[in-house]
């Protein structure tokens, strides 16, 4: 039957369908999903082998695949929104007044019925292991550095379509008029790291030790030790996106 003819047919609905027909249809569907997916993901017959489509599926991937694997550990409870990091970043990377590479978010949190407490949260590019910005870029202007995992920009290739801005789960990108291109945090790679500095401008400027920067693949590094403290809880922002970010949050 052609599609035009199908469109002309009247929908009979499911009410008039005999139950035997429905059972046959369901059985057919189940056996098909069983064949295609090994019965583990979408099977409706047993939940025993069901797996959530979350971070678990990436467990077999190496944890820190780059060398050096640059990462930032943020001790969130220490942040006081002095914004020296933002000042240093703006100065080091020529960020215009309308733009940003890093921000401090603020939120009033209710500790108990009588007490509220301000919480500051520094945010920046998470240099994800699975960066959705890189995936959507039509010109490969944004890419993941194969050595150190930094998500970088090739300004000459950028056509300013802003698709990466929409794709980024962390709102870490802005359009820089001066470059006619997207600009973003690159862990100060061009301005500091490639010139022999060990820290990003923001980490260097922080007076409270909030921003800790280093090679997380090195067990002797400061960041590795901060993240792998026993009995310490660390978290990432928006883990449900499966982007595997390299900016971690914890307290200390």
């Amino acid at each position: 039957m052609k599609i035009e003819d199908l469109n002309k047919l009247e929908n009979e609905g499911t009410d008039s369908l005999p139950s035997e027909e429905r059972r046959n249809f369901l059985r057919f569907g189940l056996s098909i999903t069983g064949v295609f997916l090994g019965g583990s993901l979408l099977s409706l017959t047993s939940t025993r082998n069901a797996q959530g489509v979350t971070l678990n599926q990436f467990d077999d991937a190496p944890k820190y695949p780059y060398k050096p694997h640059y990462s930032m550990i943020i001790l969130q409870n220490r942040c006081i929104d002095c914004e020296r990091c933002m000042e240093a970043c703006t100065k080091t990377n020529n960020v215009p007044s309308y733009g940003f590479r890093t921000k401090i978010l603020e939120q009033m949190q209710t500790i108990n019925p009588t007490r509220k407490e301000q919480v500051f949260m520094p945010v920046l590019c998470n240099h994800c292991n699975r960066p959705s910005c890189v995936r959507v870029c039509p010109t490969s202007a944004t890419y993941k550095n194969k050595t150190n995992g930094i998500v970088m920009m090739d300004y000459k290739k950028c056509i300013g379509c802003k698709t990466c801005m929409a794709a980024c789960p962390y709102n870490a990108r802005y359009f820089k008029e001066e470059n006619r291109a997207i600009d973003k945090c690159n862990f100060c790679f061009d301005t500091r790291l490639s010139r022999g500095e060990k820290l990003t401008a923001c980490a260097n400027a922080c007076p409270a030790g909030v921003r800790n920067f280093g090679d997380i693949s090195d067990p002797d590094s400061n960041v590795y030790r901060l993240l792998h403290r026993p009995d310490n809880v660390a978290w990432v922002l928006r883990p449900e996106t499966g982007s595997l970010p390299n900016v971690f949050y914890t307290v200390g």
Partner: protein, 141 residues
């Protein structure tokens, strides 16, 4: 008609009494103690912007609510001139940990430690701008 008038008067009397009571309760000094600057220090908060933006101090919280006297801090720990401490080079967290300035009480025993609950006193740039009417924000234009 006459009946109605009588009932209205009967209603009015308790209403007037209730209103007077409410007014009396709302008067400052009866329901809540009035803030007296002579006793408790300046009402407007002190905001330091050095060495970091910005740290807030409220006299009300410390004198009227916590019961401290003027000479608990003045002139031993802090000079009388509001906000003048930030002109000193040693007005730092390290000094506080060593028991100077706020650290004289905020040591974890007398009051919460200056090594904890950072945002109780640290306002941050955004809130400072909000409090000062965004003056800094527009200075560049």
């Amino acid at each position: 008609m006459n009946k109605r008038h009588i009932s209205f008067g009967k209603l009015l009397a308790p209403m007037v009494i209730a209103g007077a009571l409410l007014l009396a309760l709302n008067r400052p000094g009866l329901a809540e103690e009035k803030y007296d600057e002579e006793t408790y220090g300046p009402q407007s908060p002190i905001i330091w912007t050095k060495p970091v933006t910005a740290v807030i101090f409220k006299h009300k919280r410390h004198t009227m609510e916590a019961g401290l006297e003027c000479d608990s801090c003045h002139d031993g720990i802090f000079q009388m001139e509001a906000g003048s401490a930030q002109e000193n080079d040693d007005f730092t967290m390290a000094s506080l940990y060593a028991g100077k300035y706020c650290g004289a009480c905020h040591d974890g025993e007398t009051a919460f430690s200056s090594k904890s609950r950072c945002t109780s006193c640290h306002l941050g740039v955004q809130q400072y701008k909000n409090l000062t009417g965004g003056a800094q924000q527009h200075s560049g234009h």
